[in-house]
Amino acid sequence: MLKVKNLHAKIDGKEILRGLDLEVKAGEVHAIMGPNGSGKSTLAQVLAGRENYEVTGGTVEYDGSDLLELAPEERARAGLFLAFQYPVEIPGVSNVYLLKAALNAVRKHRGEPELDAMDFLTLIKDKMKLVEISQEFLYRAVNEGFSGGEKKRNEILQMAVLEPRLAILDETDSGLDIDALKIVANGVNSLRSPNRAIVMVTHYQRLLDYIVPDFVHVLSDGRIVKSGGRELALELEERGYSWLEGDAQPAVQSGARAAAGS
């Protein structure tokens, strides 16, 4: 579904991604871990099409087409979804309006009829239960005045409504207490499906206790330096990121390609 090859990207003249490789297949859940500044969020933003980042090399193939050629909205309509690390507050735009406009934009792209207000409300009520969001949230401005946990749950609500093919969760666990984390994880788990891939970007392995990944990759200095299964995250938890740096880097890098690229 997603093939990232030798991706280089920079922002404000500074190179952040320096030859990143990643392959994700339908049905898989990948976790990308790494220390602060390793390029995790940059990867998420570049995949979603944020224009502040300049892609200077490499390719990204999504469902057989060139993802980098697509505008952010075209990516969204093609089934790519980014759950933001810092969901943006949009005063004056109601949550329900955005959800409906987003869903209809995606449906239109798929050749499905747009939903009217009644059908939409029926659909969304089920989804709201999933992330334990009450109806009054719908009529508040997007993310405005939401707590950290509410913002993250709202992202997962959007994901549940849009039913993406590829979901990228950027630090979805940050700022969540344990109860909120469980709600969010529960929402994400219920969206796991053989047709859908999920890429989680996270600093801590805590999230992975609740959303168990098929693959774990370690990102360091703009490259994936090690890949493995669930146990790699536990090893990182125990030993920190420092053991991956320095002399180990070249060796694990080639291993990462082999593991992720199979």
Binding site: A48, G49, R50, E51, N52, A71, P72, E73, R75, A76, R77, F81, L82, F84, P87, V88, I90, P91, G92, V93, S94, V96, Y97, L98, K100, A101, A102, N104, A105, V106, K108, H109, E114, D116, A117, Y139, R140, A141, Q158, L162
Partner: protein
């Protein structure tokens, strides 16, 4: 011929055709106003109050006051009125090229203490009010004026009078519709709203003109808000894109009164509004405004709130959206006088610049002479937020739709402050018509037509 000579010639030419020309105090008041205008002259950018607004392009046009003509045919007029009217149940007073048109107007039933009608008819009949009462408002320095205000007093041919005796409530809003049908003329509407003690009324002052017509509207509205009275004033300026619009709206509020002013500026090549109120003890005012301009257009709001006595509150929010090479001016002055302890005054002005060439000059001015007061003000100038745009696009909205939505939400903050549903709907529609909507347009307008607004919260 310079502007003063030209307007003086104008005055000499039409003086005897003006309503009430045989009333001596009125004749004196008009002549006095003309001489005061001549003393001041047309303001230039050297005047502090006109620093950012250059009216020389208006003066080059040499637009003159013309006696009423019947150049527009009745069917066209009726169609325009139908299009511009807001609600069947509202009282509607129509002024065509500045003159009251009884046939096009429709006044519903009014309570006994309410008199609503044409200023010209009142002056001609010289009835309904005693002379001294009107004289107080026309003559002398009771009201703030400025050069254009004096010019209005000298040349005004008509306008609306709304007079409420104490304890009178007018349930339905009064829609004053000023329609300009032709070019090359100057129209000087004068409106007087007198709301006695414990009264309530809503007035909508609405200016519109035929597309492409070049004319000059120079309006002056005075509002007296009695003890514990409640007056809501809406101003909707949608003049022709070539028109010049200069207007004063001045209120005087008695104790415990409420006055709301909503100024919506959508049209004209040059628009200037001077809006002021003076607050007595325990009174409250709300001044809201929204201005939209693109191309080479210019829109200026100067507001002034005088907290003259204690325990009054004021809240002011103006928002502007400027595109192309448009220029906006906001100058909001709040004066807290020495006796005005416990004043609570809030002022905000937010501007959205949609192009590199758009400009805004915003200036909050606070003058505080009392020591136990709470005053805040803030002004912002910005562009559409990149992070917000990206967030919306990442959810599938195309760029034009995302931009439209953010612009709409920005402006809707002001519409949200308005109580009149038909006017809100009209403004929402006009706003949407001016947005760079994308392919999600259908669902965008869909929600409004459902009877919910985008910011329904």
């Amino acid at each position: 011929m310079n502007a003063i000579e030209r307007y003086s010639a104008d005055f000499a030419r039409i003086e005897n055709t003006l309503p009430g020309s045989s009333i001596s105090w009125l004749q004196d008041a008009r002549r006095d106003a003309l001489s005061r205008f001549a003393e001041r002259g047309i303001p230039t950018t050297r005047d502090e109050n006109w620093k950012y607004t250059d009216v020389s392009s208006l003066e080059k046009r040499a637009l003159i006051a013309v006696p009423p003509t019947d150049r527009a045919d009745a069917a066209t007029l009726a169609a325009s009125i139908e299009r511009l009217a807001l609600a069947a149940e509202y009282h509607l007073l129509v002024f065509v090229d500045g003159r009251y048109n009884r046939d096009l107007s429709r006044l519903g039933g009014l309570p006994a203490g309410a008199t609503i009608g044409s200023m010209a008819e009142v002056l001609e009949r010289n009835a309904g009010f005693n002379a001294g009462f009107l004289e107080a408002h026309f003559a002398g320095e009771l009201w703030p004026h400025g050069a254009f205000g004096w010019l209005n007093t000298a040349l005004a041919a008509d306008g609306a009078v709304i007079h409420l005796e104490a304890d009178t409530v007018v349930e339905q809003p009064v829609h004053l519709l000023f329609l300009a049908t032709g070019s090359v003329s100057a129209i000087h509407p004068t409106n007087l709203i007198i709301a006695g003690n414990n009264t309530k009324v809503t007035a909508i002052e609405h200016y519109a003109g035929d597309d492409g017509a070049t004319y000059f509207t120079n309006a002056l509205t005075r509002v007296v808000v009695g003890d514990n009275a409640n007056v809501a004033h809406y101003k909707l300026q949608q003049e022709s894109a070539k028109a010049f619009h200069i207007a004063g709206i001045h209120a005087k509020q008695a104790a415990h009164s409420r006055f709301a002013s909503h100024s919506i500026s959508l049209g004209a090549q040059l628009a200037r509004n001077d809006i002021s109120t003076r607050l007595a003890a325990g009174s409250h005012c709300e001044l809201n405004g929204l201005y939209l301009a693109d191309g080479r257009r210019h829109v200026d709001h100067h507001t002034r709130i005088d907290h003259a006595e204690p325990d009054a509150t004021s809240s002011e929010v103006y928002r502007g959206i400027l595109d192309g090479g448009a220029r906006g001016v906001f100058n909001g002055k709040v004066v807290v006088h020495q006796d005005a302890q416990h004043t609570d005054a809030k002022q905000e002005n937010h501007n959205l610049l949609l192009s590199k060439n758009a400009e805004i000059d915003t200036k909050p001015e606070l003058e505080i002479y009392a020591d136990d007061v709470k005053c805040t003000h803030g002004a912002t100038i910005g562009q559409l937020d990149d992070a917000m745009l990206f967030y919306l696009r990442s959810r599938g909205l195309d760029e034009a739709a995302a931009r439209s939505l953010l612009i709409y939400a920005f402006a809707h903050d002001i519409i949200d402050r308005m109580a009149l549903q038909p006017l809100r709907k009209r403004l929402e529609r006009q706003l949407i018509d001016r947005l760079p909507l994308g392919s999600t347009e259908v669902s965008f307008s869909d929600l409004l037509l459902d009877g919910q607004s985008v910011t329904d919260q």
